[in-house]
């Protein structure tokens, strides 16, 4: 009985835990509830992943109303992969969070942090698992609203401004998405994604359909921080509490990318949008711009969290670059990078959370000499930096390798060179961090106010789990690449 209910339970468990946090209020108890709920959620994702391997597609009828009228939860190889990424990161980050939150968030707001965290997890998982267009919007709002709260809980006063800015831009994005969905509903009379793609496939490309596609693409691009629409991201990441930054950087934009793939390849898959519209070209140009401009901006940042936030914008460029041409290798590279970037950026922000416990908001100046005072954390940052650049032996290499393979399949040598050139920009900003940590010896950290000298074991363990997985998935690619390859295959099948 319970196994058939897994798709619903995936959402219900964190959703049920969130109000309990409000009722209980005690800081440690709410943390324990959140850890328990996120690990149960993670377990459910694993079971769903195993089910999808044997069954192919799982369909769940909410409230026993048959699709396309009722809300359907539809799980195939692509969204189960994203579910697994989101829930695993949610589970690990919750385990890591307690000491970091104790320092970075006011004691009387801890329960609000955990409530928002669980609701954000619910929303992100909901967006991923559902097969209903309006349901996507609802869950997107749940995750966005709780994200604004998570960011605003940062102690720095800039956090409020960053959250408000994200609120404005995020709301515009969500509005665009709902307008797009509304247009599709007017055109087809259905909200079920599978049904939508069938019906849109039977129609010729008309103006309203193009308008719907345009609204959806722009709205989703705002959410995933595609290059010119990324302005909310750097401050949001920089001023949110470390735990929130880590969770959001590793999951929120990834779920938005999943949405882009879902709409471009599945819902509009049979409308020939890649052959008849310049969607691929637009994505390509914006991705290249993101890779170069965001990486260049990252080089000039003094605040380390901001630097890696800009680096996220650049890395998202690699993901959308893979999504911009409809070939199996390219999509595989895109989805692999979604996974690899999640663990790499997750690891970086987890390590920066450890650094923040010692020196407060990590800036280049304060981090000088960190190689001596925090040798392990610094070594971890170096490993993650290598993965960000794409050095062989790290997870980042695998995704860049597939991306370059995909580009060469097309015979676009120039693009392969551009990918390598933009990786060199990553070398520069990673080197700036490495240089301050190891080479510059001016030890100006004596004035730090948070003078804890040891790092909490739980945080160190989780951070290093992420760092080792950056290396592990650089050698052992059977999970990441095969999962991504299966997902890419499914997406291209929809497109045919």
């Amino acid at each position: 009985m319970i196994s058939s209910q897994l798709p619903a339970l995936q959402i219900i468990v964190p959703l049920l835990a969130a109000p309990f946090c409000v009722i209980i209020r005690n800081s440690r108890a709410t943390w324990l509830i959140s850890v328990l709920a996120s690990w149960v959620t993670f377990g459910i994702s694993i079971l769903l992943y195993l089910d999808v391997q044997t069954l192919g597609v799982i369909s769940y009828e909410m409230g026993n109303w048959a699709p396309p009228w009722g809300i359907e939860y539809r799980i195939d190889s692509i969204n189960v992969f994203v579910l697994l990424i989101v829930s695993s990161i949610g589970a690990l980050v919750s385990l890591y969070a307690y000491p970091s939150i104790s320092v970075e968030v006011d004691e009387n707001k801890h329960y609000l942090f955990w409530t928002s965290y669980l609701l954000c997890l619910t929303g992100l998982l909901g967006v991923t698992i559902t097969g209903d267009a309006f349901n996507i919007f609802v869950f997107l709002e749940i995750s966005s609203l709780s994200t604004y709260v998570l960011i605003a809980l940062g102690k720095n006063r800039h956090a409020l401004y960053a959250a408000f800015r994200y609120l404005i831009l995020g709301t515009i994005g969500a509005t665009f998405i709902v307008i797009g969905i509304g247009l599709l509903y007017l055109l087809t009379g259905t909200l079920n994604l599978y049904d939508l793609s069938m019906r849109l496939g039977d129609m010729s490309l008309t103006q309203p359909q193009l308008a719907a596609l345009a609204f959806l693409t722009v709205g989703i691009s705002l959410k995933l921080a595609l290059f010119p629409l990324h302005l909310w991201l750097p401050n949001a990441y920089a001023f949110a509490p470390s735990v929130a930054t880590c969770f959001l950087a590793a999951t929120a934009t990834k779920v938005a990318i999943y949405l882009l793939l879902r709409f471009a390849y599945d819902v509009f898959g049979q409308s020939q949008i890649f052959s008849e519209l310049p969607l691929g070209e637009v994505l390509l140009i914006l991705s290249i711009a993101a890779m170069f401009i965001a990486s260049t901006v990252a080089i000039y940042q003094q605040d380390i969290k901001r630097m890696f936030a800009y680096s996220s914008v650049a890395q998202i460029g690699y993901i959308t670059l893979g999504a911009s041409f409809a070939s199996h290798t390219a999509l595989t590279s895109s989805i692999v990078h979604l996974f690899n970037h999640a663990i790499t950026k997750g690891a970086i922000f987890l390590l920066l959370g450890l650094v923040a416990l010692r020196i407060g908001q990590p800036t280049l100046k304060k981090m000088s000499g960190l190689g001596k005072s925090m040798p392990w954390t610094s070594a971890g940052l170096v490993i993650c930096g290598l993965s960000l650049i794409g050095v062989p032996g790290t997870a980042g290499f695998i995704s860049k390798w597939y991306l370059i393979l995909a580009v060469l399949e097309r015979g676009w040598w120039w693009l392969a060179f551009m990918i390598l050139a933009s990786s060199l920009l990553a070398v520069i900003y990673v080197w700036r961090v490495v240089e301050t940590m190891y080479v510059s010896d001016s030890d100006s950290r004596g004035d730090s106010h948070m003078a804890s000298t040891t790092s909490p074991t739980s945080m160190t363990l989780v951070a290093w789990l992420f760092v080792t997985s950056c290396i592990f998935f650089g050698f052992h690619t059977s999970f990441s690449v095969e999962g991504a390859s299966a997902a890419a295959k499914v997406l291209l099948e929809y497109t045919k």
Binding site: Q5, I12, L15, P19, I23, M62, G63, N64
Partner: protein, 141 residues
């Protein structure tokens, strides 16, 4: 403050009970006519906000303490999810109301009634919380 706004005090005292009853009507009549939990929650909250505008925030906070209202926010959501989970416990899918009673017509009726009650409670308490937040700004830092 005393006798300062007698007209408002008298009229509001006369009106607030009707606002409350109307909120309950909108809540419980929602499955036959226009209305439902969301609207009812807003009307009920409007009644209390009206009261607090006339008689002062502190008095309103005595009637509806913020802590208690915050509990209600969670209770409404919990009620909703619990009704949904009943569907699973009774051997069907999440939010399947048909299995809640002997036949599906009654089941659907109970289901939507309870779920709307949950919505009503949460919307009422969220509205009031937002009001408390804004009204309380700068008073007790």
């Amino acid at each position: 403050m005393k006798n300062y706004d007698r007209v408002l005090r008298v009229i509001s005292k006369a009106m607030i009970p009707f606002i409350m009853v109307f909120a309950l009507y909108v809540q419980f009549h929602g499955d036959y006519g226009p209305g439902g939990g969301f609207q009812a929650g807003v009307i009920l909250a409007a009644g209390l906000i009206f009261y607090s505008l006339i008689y002062g925030l502190e008095v309103a906070k005595k009637i509806a303490p913020p802590r208690f209202i915050e509990l209600l926010v969670a209770t409404g959501v919990l009620l909703y999810v619990m009704v949904g989970l009943m569907g699973i416990f009774l051997g069907s899918d999440f939010l399947d109301y048909s299995v809640l009673a002997q036949d599906s017509v009654h089941g659907q009726h109970y289901g939507i009634f309870l779920v709307e009650l949950g919505v009503g409670i949460t919307v009422f308490s969220v509205m009031l919380t937002i009001f408390y937040m804004f009204a309380g700004r700068g008073r007790n830092p």
